[in-house]
């Protein structure tokens, strides 16, 4: 099973490779990818250095081109595919049909991975993309239970990649417009959810408040840890009951599911977090490398080490983790 790690910068990329990633995924420095944040991603010179580093270590490079091409600006997305090929990347991760079509027509040998943003959650959708664009792998949205993932591995020959760790997107990816409803900008259109430029922190008499485009997301008491105001993780009121109506600040952690994922034939476990620091990438890659190696060497003796979970919890939103949709009770 492949360990696929995030790299939002050249130092993060090198760290991931050094710490045992089998593959890394990166994005270009523009709106063609879903982590289009200031100070993040790769310009032309960093791209070639990164690609060289990955190749020198015999690892794989995936390039995320996973937003949707704007009308009249398709060339930007097509150029990203050209760059991906020029780099000698092993795969392009694509969501948009027009970009998939361009890549299939122009580069029949380029391995296409269907981005999670394309939201393929069933065998028929997978068939659609396979038949039309000859995709080689599907990145599954974080909406399926472990049983449903297993059903897909049984009912489809497609290579499947799942999210294993990181910030938890609780909606079917690529089909969530909550961010543009609040701010006008969404992952699909500009490559960012709850963009930082709309975030405002304020000390008030009722505590620290976080706002997104002036809409109150949460209010924190002195003893509460404040998190980034991703809008689906705020506290809202339903019939006068105030709670995290959609989800709490938490991260996905599937270390305990690793044996199941390997046994059912999942091709790759993906770690979320291109927006995170090289220090995050170092810890996360080391823990997951150790866990996969531990299982591979002695499957019967695999146990999640307390130390791994501790390390991961410290890297998580709200210092807590969940199995997310993989576990039916979460749903």
């Amino acid at each position: 099973m492949e360990l696929l790690c995030p790299a939002g910068s050249l130092p993060a990329l090198k760290t991931a490779i050094d710490c045992g990633a089998d593959a890394v995924y990166i994005g270009l420095k523009d709106q063609t990818n879903a982590r289009h944040f200031a100070g993040l991603n790769f310009n032309a010179s960093k791209l070639s250095k990164g690609a060289q580093y990955v190749a020198d270590h015999n690892k794989h490079l995936h390039v995320a081109i996973n937003t949707f091409a704007h009308p009249g600006q398709e060339k930007r997305w097509f150029n990203a595919v050209d760059q991906c090929v020029d780099l000698g990347a092993n795969a392009a991760i694509i969501a948009d049909i027009s970009t998939l079509d361009y890549a299939t027509q122009k580069y029949p040998d380029l391995a296409l991975h269907l981005s999670v943003q394309a939201s393929a959650t069933n065998t028929a959708a997978i068939d659609f993309y396979q038949r039309n664009f000859n995709i080689k792998r599907v990145v599954l949205p974080r909406v399926l239970s472990l049983h449903q993932v297993k059903q897909l591995t049984r009912n489809s020959d497609m290579s499947l990649e799942v999210f294993a760790f990181g910030s938890l997107c609780i909606m079917a990816e690529g089909r969530c417009y909550l961010s543009s409803y609040f701010t006008g900008e969404s992952p699909n259109t500009v490559g960012a959810c709850s963009p930082a430029k709309f975030v405002r922190w304020q000390e008030t008499a009722q505590g620290l408040t976080s706002r997104l485009n002036n809409i109150l997301i949460d209010r924190y008491q002195d003893d509460e840890k404040a998190g980034y105001p991703t809008l689906c993780k705020g506290r809202f009121s339903v019939d006068n009951h105030l709670y995290h109506a959609l989800e709490e600040p938490t991260s996905l952690n599937t270390l305990s599911l690793l044996p199941d994922l390997i046994e059912m034939g999942i091709s790759s476990v993906k770690i979320e977090g291109r927006q995170r620091s090289p220090a995050y990438v170092e810890q996360i890659t080391s823990v997951w490398r150790a866990a996969i190696d531990c299982y591979t060497q002695h499957p019967a003796h695999y146990q999640v080490k307390a130390q791994w979970n501790q390390q991961l919890a410290n890297l998580s939103e709200g210092n807590q983790t969940t199995l997310g949709a993989y576990h039916r009770n979460w749903q």
Binding site: G72, T121, F182, G184
Partner: protein
């Protein structure tokens, strides 16, 4: 410009649903969509009931379309779509590429629903080649975005091969999750939900700590807290939009259809200006935050 009534997004008792469509068939809507699009556990009307209802409505002088679920996770949910595709009489609105695949396997034409990611003319062209006859634009897109796409489809010479439908009134479907937020609001898990959505015929309101109504929780679907209303924007849809969709939340939505119809039939300088209240929005059309009012 035609008017359509979108599928009921909420979970209503069977009789209420049937009564609604008995009235809808005499409304000003030209096209009626129906079917369960949110959750496969909602079975007040089973698949064959929806098909029968669609066929009975189809005897009147309106176009009837069966809408399909947006989030398809289980083989059983694909089986439902197969059954809908085999109805032999009315057309289908696909809300997932899985549904498009099943429809194209049977060489059936289809409507591309609002839950499908189609953001540019090249994508539309590919879908037209697969049998798409009508495109309902993703709700987050603006007039400018639509205008650019339509211009491209003219250049590519296929604008006449499909219709454009716009979600123009109602709470906007913004997101789908594995989690049921209505069940969560009652501290239940989805598997143990007791079909509680039926107790909230217009969803559950979620507000900020400053009482701003931001979401409507509707099972696994999250709707906009405000009601989208483009009744004052009809003039700016000329040449771009063929069909206007009203998303029903009660029988009063039929009056909304009539209001739109009246507005459409007025000369531009005689159209009534509707003052939007504080729980309505039109931001997406104006390329600003969806919840804003221009």
């Amino acid at each position: 410009m035609k008017l359509s009534l979108g599928p009921i997004l909420y979970y209503w008792p069977k009789q209420q649903t049937i009564d609604f469509y008995q009235q809808a068939i005499n409304s000003d809507a030209d096209i009626i969509y129906l079917g369960e699009t949110v959750c496969s556990k909602r079975r007040e009307l089973k698949t064959r009931d929806w098909i029968e209802l669609a066929k009975s409505l189809n005897k009147h002088n309106k176009e009837i379309v069966l809408s399909t679920m947006a989030l398809l996770e289980a083989p059983s949910e694909l089986s439902v779509i197969r059954k809908l595709c085999e109805n032999g009489e009315v057309s289908i609105e696909a809300n997932d590429f899985g549904a498009i695949q099943l429809l194209t396997e049977k060489k059936l034409p289809f409507v591309c629903g609002p839950a499908i990611n189609c953001y540019n003319a090249n994508t539309l062209k590919i879908l037209v080649n697969q049998g798409m006859q009508r495109w309902v634009m993703p709700v987050e897109l603006s007039r400018d975005w639509l205008s650019n796409i339509v211009e491209d489809t003219h250049k590519m010479q296929f604008r006449d091969q499909f219709e454009v439908e716009l979600f123009a009134h109602g709470h906007l479907p913004l997101a789908y999750s594995a989690r049921c937020f209505t069940a969560r609001s009652e501290n239940k898990a989805k598997d143990d939900c007791g079909l509680t959505c039926i107790n909230y015929p217009q969803g559950r309101i979620a507000s900020t700590q400053e009482d701003q109504q931001v979401f409507i929780l509707n099972g696994i679907q999250t709707l906009s807290g405000y009601c989208y209303n483009l009744i004052n924007e009809l003039h700016s849809m000329q040449g771009l939009v063929d069909i206007i969709r009203i998303s029903p939340d009660s029988t009063s939505s039929l009056a909304t259809v009539s209001a739109f119809k009246k507005q459409i039939n007025q000369l531009p300088n005689q159209q009534q200006y509707w003052r939007l209240d504080s729980l309505q929005c039109n931001g997406y059309w104006h390329n600003i935050a969806g919840l804003a009012q221009s």
